[in-house]
Symmetry: C2
Subunit: 448 residues, 2 copies
């Protein structure tokens, strides 16, 4: 009988593990257990459905379960919850949430791809009982929001949290025509960005008529349906509330079975994506990554990382041999017309980590200044003054910013020094860059 690879979780990490395990091993038995109905969909795309750029949620689904079965010989048990795990006897207990029937599933190798769950507000516990209060994490959340938007036709939205999902949802609901208020703790309002980025993001949100409230959320009130969000200095009317105050790794199963967690609270993994149990792998938003600039584990849940980890877990679980070395912390977001891209460490993060960090910044342009469409680009570069080691970068602008950060991400992976950046042979033609690309333009300011 072929080895049985059991994968818990069927979104980015889990489904990538399944399809790469299949490529690696034509014979392994592969089963994916997913609590929700849909598998293999793009969570990151959900805000764009609400904004109207993507017609509907089905467009985000990459594979149907039948296709996975027929094309990849991957068995999918959806609407199924894992209620017990026995690592020594190598089986799980799975309950079908539709039929309520349970079954035992044996396994030789296990991939935990249980993802992350939305953080909850530290107010009274039952605020989710009010109609119109949502968080956005998985497809069922998205379907509930989608249905509510169509049925209740809300006019006033309050978004709680100014992280990536909060900002994307603010844009989406504004584009849909709602009035949008964005509430976020004053102490860490856009806290990971340099002051210049923060300034430009706030200006863009304000220009697009998003009302900003740096405040604490004290209560969410209503009568069956949500009506108000009480914040420390005001009361906001609301007929839809999106709570987007970050996520935490879903590690209930791991914890209960002595699968080791890291300091971040996510599952600790080796470069092979193995946990402390050699036949148990973890991938995606439930797992840590190695931060290559800090040289220590971190928790930065992202779809692209989940895919890389899932690939490695899937290949290794069925006998292949590959590794995921880690991340440098690259992130990018579109906020209306702005592209905001960061990688590595900010000045503050770098100093906290013990580097003698220095930041150089510049304002330059995205294309040759005389070429139509050229827009301002602000660039910050952070490096260690003692060693010259490049540590990070932040970039913002309205044109051709997003993929420029990849140059720095690659330089960080390659452990380049700040002086190396000035030597880079970056693409130049007037429609695409000024003769000194923003990165080159900035690094000229370093004393090198």
């Amino acid at each position: 009988m072929p080895d049985h690879l059991l994968i818990i979780g069927g979104v980015a990490g889990g489904m990538t593990a399944a399809t790469w395990a299949r490529r690696q091993s034509p014979t392994a038995k592969i089963t994916v257990v997913e609590r929700g109905h849909d598998v293999a969909y793009a969570e990151c795309g959900m805000p764009y459905v609400f904004g109207g750029q993507v017609p509907n949620l089905d467009n985000l689904i990459r594979y149907q379960t039948t296709e996975l079965k027929e094309k990849h010989q991957v068995e999918v048990l959806n609407n199924t919850n894992i209620e017990g795990l026995d690592l020594s006897r190598q089986f799980v207990e799975a309950r079908n949430l539709k039929t309520n029937q349970t079954q035992k599933l044996g396994f030789d190798y296990l991939v935990l791809a249980t993802g992350a769950k939305a953080n909850r507000l530290d107010i009274r516990e039952n605020y989710f009982n009010l109609e119109g209060v949502f968080s956005l994490r998985h497809m069922p959340d998205a379907k509930a929001i989608d249905e509510y938007l169509k049925k209740a036709n809300p006019r006033q939205a309050v978004i709680i949290g100014a992280g990536y999902v909060g900002l994307e949802m603010a844009e989406a609901l504004k584009m849909r025509g709602l009035e949008v208020s964005l509430v976020s703790r004053a102490s860490d309002f856009l806290g990971t960005f340099t002051s210049e980025l923060k300034k430009q993001i706030i200006a863009e949100l304000t220009a697009k008529e998003i009302k900003l409230f740096p405040a604490e959320v004290l209560d969410i009130r209503g009568n069956k349906k949500v009506e108000q969000v009480v914040i420390s200095n005001s009361v906001l009317s609301a007929d839809i509330v999106i709570i987007a105050i970050g996520v935490s790794p879903e590690v209930t199963l791991a914890k209960a079975n002595n699968i080791r967690l890291g300091a971040s609270g996510a599952i600790a993994v080796k470069e092979t994506q193995q946990t402390n149990f050699p036949n148990v792998y973890a991938a995606g938003d439930c797992a840590e990554s190695h931060h290559l600039v800090l040289d220590k584990p971190c928790y930065i849940p992202l779809g692209t990382t989940a895919n890389k980890q899932g690939r490695v877990a899937g290949i290794n679980a069925v006998g292949g041999r590959t590794q995921f070395r880690g991340v440098v912390g690259t992130q990018v977001i579109k906020i209306f017309d702005l592209e905001v891209a960061t990688t590595g460490l900010s000045l503050e993060q770098a100093n906290k980590a013990g580097f003698m960090a220095k930041e150089i910044t510049s304002n330059s342009v995205s294309r040759a200044g005389y070429y139509p469409g050229a827009e301002k680009v602000f660039t910050s570069l952070v490096y260690d003054e003692r060693t010259g080691k490049l540590l990070g970068s932040q970039m913002i602008g309205k044109d051709m910013v997003a993929k420029r950060i990849d140059t720095i991400a690659t330089a960080l992976y390659g452990k380049l020094k700040i002086e190396d950046l000035l030597q880079l042979d970056l693409a130049y033609a007037p429609p695409f860059a000024p003769v000194w690309d923003p990165i080159l333009y900035t690094v000229r300011k370093a004393n090198i």
Copy 2:
């Protein structure tokens, strides 16, 4: 008396040398001698003036001579030709082309930034006597073309040469409403591109109604004004002809003074941009660069390289200490809606250079497939099968291609291996990339 830095040539390499020498030394005497009227302009921008994206040639001028004098204390002698150079006695003989007066100018340090000249067709010598026949290299060429386009209102253009300038001029004149024929030798028609890039470029040119003639040019005929271009298999009517069959370094002065040339025919330089004479520097299109992938000198004249070399030459000439390590061969061009970007070595170049080269290719997308504006991206990666050393890449598509090549350019500079590419933490968000960026998507196909 302060040291006198004399710079021959006032466009990219020369003017960058002047301004950076000034930043390095507030006291040095700096003189730039330029044969043409204008200095400090963007040659690469000239085609976009003819295409109408840039209103007029003056938009390309970065500094006026008065500004250079007043703001940077750089003396500019324009319309001035260097007629003699005496390296041992350290002076030049300069003739003002307007007044015909000559003067001797002493120097302590010399920067040769004499640029390149357009190659001539190997047909009868006097074809340039016909009105309407041009090459495009310097501002005087551009002014002549501009004037002719406005005055003679030509309808039928023949572009000879399908290099970067030929392709850009074909697009420019087409956008201006002319009928455009593009003639290029069959044997090396788009010869440096992989077959897939060639195919897509030809399809785009054809879709935009550029007539392609892979043929030899036998004659250019006319009666005072150009009328016909005779090619090996046809005769093309023409009332404007642009000859764009590459450039050669302008090294007359260097040759006459035993300044060493490299195998390419351009001036050989050290990392300091010094020639074989320690007080003589060279920068820009008259000089070689070190090719970091081939680890040997090369001649790839480009504005961005000229700027980097000029900066290094200028700083070092007045007592600073910096270096230009070289290029990896990055080039990018817009051809109508297409972005075509290459860096490093093609499969053929790599094999010729002795590598055991292997190419992997893929078709992927510029943004998440479900996000509006996503377009196909073709990516090729070349590496050495023995060592895994990354050697080059070619990319083509209609959206967000140009700056993606910078990732590979950076990886080449950092001497990464093909397997490293799969680890890169490239920016991901649905508006900017699929979850597997085209580079990651491609490298997954390598057997690593």
